[in-house]
């Protein structure tokens, strides 16, 4: 059986750690340091880049790391979660586009880039929980 190309299993734990640290850094920059991406300051831009890339990389590692047993049923659960997360992401972007205008739309785009991965992770974990809780014969 040909499986999807996926990262090793340990990447999930490492991904959660990287995500937690970088997402915290990102929230700190936005809410505490009041960082706005329009005024370029090299040191702040570096911190922002670490937060953005780290958050995405962390989520990617969590989303696309192998399960203990990878087979076609799990691939189908991944596919199901992927499609639903794209639909959900599109709905969120449309709704936020209707209520957010001007500069605040930058926040919509910021949310959208993480939301699709985050939604995929939540939906896939929910699928796994639904089928992989104890359902012995």
């Amino acid at each position: 059986m040909k499986n999807l190309w996926l990262l090793p299993k340990w990447c999930r734990t490492a991904g959660w750690f990287i995500f937690a640290v970088c997402a915290f850094l990102g929230l700190y920059l936005i809410f505490i340091e009041q960082y706005l991406p329009i005024d370029f300051q090299p040191w702040m831009a570096l911190k922002a880049n670490i937060a953005i890339i780290g958050t995405l990389a962390g989520l990617f590692m969590v989303a696309f790391s192998k399960e203990s047993v990878e087979d076609e049923f799990i691939n189908s659960l991944r596919m199901d979660a992927m499609i639903k997360s794209f639909i959900l992401n599109s709905i969120i972007i449309v709704l936020l586009s209707l209520i957010m205008y001007g500069f605040y739309y930058v926040y919509v785009l910021s949310i959208a880039q993480y939301f699709v991965l985050l939604a995929y992770i939540i939906l896939f974990r929910y699928n796994m929980h639904k089928y992989f809780r104890n359902n012995e014969e």
Binding site: M1, V69, D71, E72, F73, S76, Y131, F132, E136, E137
Partner: protein, 66 residues
């Protein structure tokens, strides 16, 4: 599509886990196939049939509307 994997397992007295290990999938995959929540690929169907030394038709069959 319906199947009689549960019956075949009962005949040879093996658990879902034993069948799963023999064909290289998770136990939950066998459970999902048995309960009709997942339709296996041709490859997996052939492996299951071969394990029970039967043809795919003996184990899997189409339902009305398929």
């Amino acid at each position: 599509m319906k199947n009689n994997i549960r019956v075949e397992r009962a005949i040879v007295r093996i658990s879902q886990q034993q069948l799963a290990d023999a064909i290289g999938v998770s136990r939950q995959t066998i459970n999902a196939i048995e309960t009709g929540k997942f339709v296996p690929s041709t490859l997996l169907a052939l492996k299951i049939a071969r394990y029970f030394s039967k043809s795919v038709d003996d184990i899997f069959s189409l339902e009305e509307g398929d």
